[in-house]
């Protein structure tokens, strides 16, 4: 499997990363080198193997569905680049 420049652009779009045109060939090369390294996993027979879901055998913890926290709007927006009246401010999304 080889990543071409179109794939780099598509994946960058999915990842919401703006890539400069001049960086696309370099990124394609690097991604191909990493994918080439990963390729050796195809040697492993995993037909009858279950994927690992937890490294330690334990039952999923459950908690009561109670409200235990809240009223922290000020803290939540404290680090926002733009905020007003405890709302995050963003460019207009809906016309």
């Amino acid at each position: 499997m080889s990543v071409d420049q179109g794939t780099v652009r598509r994946v960058a779009r999915l990842a919401r990363l703006k890539v400069q045109d001049e960086d696309v060939p370099r990124l394609a090369g690097e991604l191909n080198a990493i994918l080439g390294f990963i390729e050796q996993l195809n040697e492993v027979d995993v037909a009858a193997v279950e994927p690992l879901t937890s490294v330690v055998t334990m039952k999923m913890k459950m908690r009561a569905d109670d409200v235990t926290d809240g009223h922290r709007a000020g803290q939540i927006v404290a680090n926002a680049p733009a905020q007003e009246d405890s709302f995050f401010m963003v460019p207009k999304v809906v016309e």
Binding site: V3, T7, V8, V11, A12, L14, A15, R16, L17, K18, V19, L27, E30, L31, A33, I34, L35, F37, I38, E39, Q40, L41, E43, V44, V46, V49, E50, P51, L52, T53, V55, V56, M58, M60, K61, R63, R72, Q75, I76, V77, A78, N79, A80, P81, A82, F88, V90, P91, K92, V93
Partner: protein, 488 residues
């Protein structure tokens, strides 16, 4: 009089309890040492006012006979741990200006036990790197240099600031995190002791997430005893992290000095990799003979899927990272670069905020998780993880602990490794441990021909940290400790 910064945590604890010196004396000594060592770039933020206030509180508690397990002990905190009101940026530009309004569970546990915060430590951006060269705040310089050379070396990564600060005696101990080797590899490069505990031993709450199924916090310290003291305070069961495991935290320090007679130590043949320097192989053999001389039984074992751990890691870790790092969008915190519309703003903010290595891993992660590839990559890698874990499950039928080298080489120079895959190979001995969720400790074993520290790794059963401290202390007793000569 010995300088206060040369004391281990255990020694400082005694001095504080006996009132030989005050917590404030100790903190002032560290603040001065930090100022003199700025050339190492180990700290990204120093918090002297907070340190002095905490030390004064410690002195009050000590005077009242109320001191906790770490009362008055000055620590450095990796920039990945959220600290209330203090710079927490994972050494990334994307988290510019971020000051959490909450405290991570691990650091809260340390403060509960009386520890003093000296500042935030440098690291590879988002803990992605093995040389501490990817930090937005510049590279960290290893306090160690090759014999007869003034050339700078890397401290390893991603916890390079933590390891360098401990080795340079500009903190008594440090917090660190390990996703593929980020505690053990820098510890090996700096002659310090670092332990990555079992997945679930320390709460991940309030630690900036990289790869959630692999990330674990642990300490870097000057010796095995100090690492044991720190881990006892850091570890806890936490309702805020459902993956933290309900197992009581033992008194790890009690394992230090426990004889290793009768302990079965496994030597995995797959760790004899091509191109491994002869001195690393020789050190490995020497460590086995030290343990044998102390009555341990050395057993050759096989971990057949070892070579697949690193490629599987480079699917799992970037996949989880691409998902975890989706939150940095310039809306809720950190850097915002204005754009034509909201998507343009996201794309520009992320492109400007993330460094090259982080972007590379986000792209790989997004690619392997994209439509049609999930089974071929992520699911296959998770199946390989099952096989890696099964290798260890079989080994535990024959041995109590596994001994390997910590890294395939001693510290290298900044800029020496530029190929990403070559850099990834630094974690070849450590990454299997994360993939299987096991505990691993790195302990200094000796010096290279160039005079640089070399580390050994011990791998334990799930929640077998006590065996690791016991065995590492036996190696330390034979190998001795290593301190960098001060040139700064």
């Amino acid at each position: 009089m010995t300088s206060l910064t040369s004391l281990t945590i255990a020694q400082a604890r005694d001095g504080l309890r006996n009132r030989t010196f005050s917590a404030l004396d100790l903190t002032e000594a560290y603040l001065l040492a930090m100022e003199k060592a700025r050339v190492l770039n180990a700290y990204v933020v120093e918090t002297p006012d907070k340190a002095r206030a905490m030390a004064k509180d410690s002195d009050a508690r000590l005077a009242g006979g109320q001191g906790g397990a770490l009362e008055g002990i000055p620590l450095g905190i990796k920039d990945l741990f959220a600290t209330d009101g203090v710079h927490t940026q994972a050494c990334s530009h994307v988290l510019d200006g971020f000051k959490p309004t909450y405290e991570s569970t691990v650091t809260a546990n340390l403060w509960r036990d009386g520890a003093v915060m000296l500042g935030k430590l440098n690291m590879d951006e988002f803990a992605m790197g093995s040389s501490n060269e990817t930090s937005y705040y510049g590279k960290v310089i290893n306090p160690w240099r090759r014999k007869g050379s003034n050339a700078a070396l890397v401290p390893g990564g991603s916890s390079g600031g933590s390891a360098a600060a401990v080795a340079a005696h500009i903190c008594a101990g440090a917090t660190a995190t390990d996703t593929g080797g980020s505690i053990r590899q820098p510890a090996a490069f700096t002659g310090t002791v670092g332990i990555k505990p079992t997945y679930g031993r320390c709460s991940r709450w309030g630690i900036v997430a990289f790869a959630s199924s692999l990330d674990q916090a642990g300490p870097i310290a000057r010796d095995v005893r100090d690492a044991a003291i720190l881990l006892r305070s850091m570890a806890s069961v936490d309702p805020k992290d459902t993956t933290s495991v309900d197992v009581p935290v033992p008194d790890y320090e009690a394992s230090v000095g426990r004889p290793v007679k009768g302990l079965r130590v496994g030597i995995p043949r797959e760790y004899r990799v091509d191109g491994m320097p002869a001195e690393i192989d020789a050190l490995w053999q020497k460590a086995a003979s030290w343990l044998r001389e102390q009555g341990a039984e050395i057993v050759e074992i096989s971990l057949p899927h070892t070579k697949y751990a690193l490629p599987a890691y480079y699917i799992v870790a970037p996949a989880e990272a691409s998902s975890n790092l989706a939150r940095y969008d310039g809306v809720r915190y950190g850097l915002r670069v204005p754009g034509d519309d909201i998507v343009d703003m996201y794309e520009k903010s992320r492109a400007a905020g993330f460094g090259r290595e982080v972007q590379r891993r986000i792209l790989i992660g997004t690619y392997v998780l994209s439509a049609g590839y999930y089974d071929a990559y992520y699911v296959r890698a998770q199946k390989v993880r099952t096989l890696i874990k099964r290798d260890f499950d079989r080994a535990w039928e024959k041995v109590d602990v596994v001994l390997t080298p910590a890294t395939p080489s001693p510290a290298f120079a900044p800029g020496e490794i530029t190929d990403p895959v070559q850099m990834y190979l630094n974690d070849i001995f450590t990454v299997t441990v994360n993939m299987a969720g096991l505990p691993g400790i790195s302990v200094p074993g000796g010096l290279s021909a160039d005079g640089l520290p070399l580390g050994l790794q011990l791998i334990g059963k799930p929640f077998g940290e006590e065996t690791l401290f016991q065995t590492a202390a036996a190696i330390e007793a034979a190998a001795g400790g290593y301190t960098a000569a001060q040139w700064w």
